[in-house]
């Protein structure tokens, strides 16, 4: 798997982040994410994760829950619809991404995700 010129340009800023990089971006592009949750949070999470390159599907649900592949998840209840809620959504998704990145790069879940880079 490789990235074309548009994709390189598109994902350049997030590939510059050491923990992500080119190989991390390939993992992102090869990994499905599922977002459960109520409006407006499901929509926000879906937009950001899809824009990062994940293949995102979504289901309306009472609580926010995000699954990356079948190895990493984050959930939260009762996000308030104001600044704090937005901040906590952003922080929760960031931590989930960082943890998942550590796992895939550490090789822990390589076999669980058959679409990793170079395969």
């Amino acid at each position: 798997m490789d990235l074309d010129r548009d994709q390189m340009d598109l994902y350049s800023r997030q590939m510059l982040v050491d923990e992500i990089g080119f190989d991390g971006q390939l993992f992102i592009l090869a990994t499905p994410v599922h977002v459960f949750g109520p409006d407006p949070w499901r929509g926000w999470a879906t937009q950001y994760l899809a824009a990062a390159g994940f293949s995102v599907s979504e289901t309306p649900h009472e609580h926010v829950k995000v699954l990356i592949g079948d190895a990493a998840s984050w959930e939260v209840t009762n996000l308030p619809q104001r600044g704090e809620g937005l901040r906590d959504l952003g922080l929760g998704l960031s931590k989930l991404l960082a943890e998942w990145m550590r796992q895939v790069k550490g090789g822990d879940i390589r076999n669980a995700n058959s679409l990793g880079p170079g395969e």
């Binding site: 800023r13 982040v17 937009q47 104001r82 600044g83 952003g90 960031s94 931590k95």
Partner: protein, 204 residues
């Protein structure tokens, strides 16, 4: 008013629409949408590439309280009357221009920045600590996101924190403690340091 229609400014404008009594949101940006913006600014579409950001954002949110300004906020900028200014830029000259105007209008402004997995937010008000009190007279430009990279969900968290301090200011402006908020996306946590309650010697 939100200065910058990028990674921090665009979710901020969306969040401000939750304020029921807000009459007008000015959003100023003289940049155009680039492909590399799209992962952090998911309201823009491929079809928006090359368009003026502030105009594309106003159109994407579809609320007529949001008004675009397509010129640069700098020394020569003509400011509309506003009650609060959000810094969603990524550079110090724009922040200096924002602060100058905030002190002139005697209103607070909110500093916000994000690089890699980290973010910083502070509400600065007339009479309190200023940008120079926080970062010194000649803040080194530091690493900007086009050099160091940035994680999109961290910019979302920073926008949320900026909104949260503005909400706190609106609800209890008179008993205010000056704080610098620090966000760490890797750990998913936010904490703050209290800014010392000394007189600003730089004319805030």
């Amino acid at each position: 008013m939100v200065v910058g229609a990028g990674a921090i400014g665009s979710p901020l404008v969306r969040g401000l629409l939750w304020w029921p009594h807000l009459e007008r949101i000015w959003v100023a940006d003289n940049d155009r949408v680039e492909r590399s913006n799209l992962p952090r600014q998911p309201w823009y579409r491929v079809a928006d590439i090359g368009r003026e950001k502030s105009r594309a954002l106003a159109e994407a949110v579809g609320d007529d309280r949001v008004r675009p300004i397509t010129v640069a906020v700098d020394h020569d900028f003509t400011w509309p009357p506003v009650s609060l200014i959000f810094d969603a830029t990524d550079n110090w000259p724009a922040r200096a221009a924002i602060q100058r105007e905030a002190w002139r209008q005697q209103i607070p402004w909110i500093f916000a920045s994000a690089v890699r997995w980290e973010g910083q937010v502070a509400l600065l008000r007339p009479g309190g600590p200023c940008l120079e009190c926080l970062f010194g007279a000649h803040p080194t430009e530091g690493l900007r996101c086009f050099e160091a990279g940035v994680v999109s969900t961290v910019t979302l968290a920073v926008a949320g924190q900026a909104l949260a301090v503005a909400e706190a200011w609106e609800s209890r402006g008179h008993q205010w403690e000056d704080r610098l908020y620090l966000l760490d996306g890797r750990e998913g946590r936010v904490w703050w340091v209290r800014l010392p309650p000394k007189e600003c010697p730089h004319g805030s």
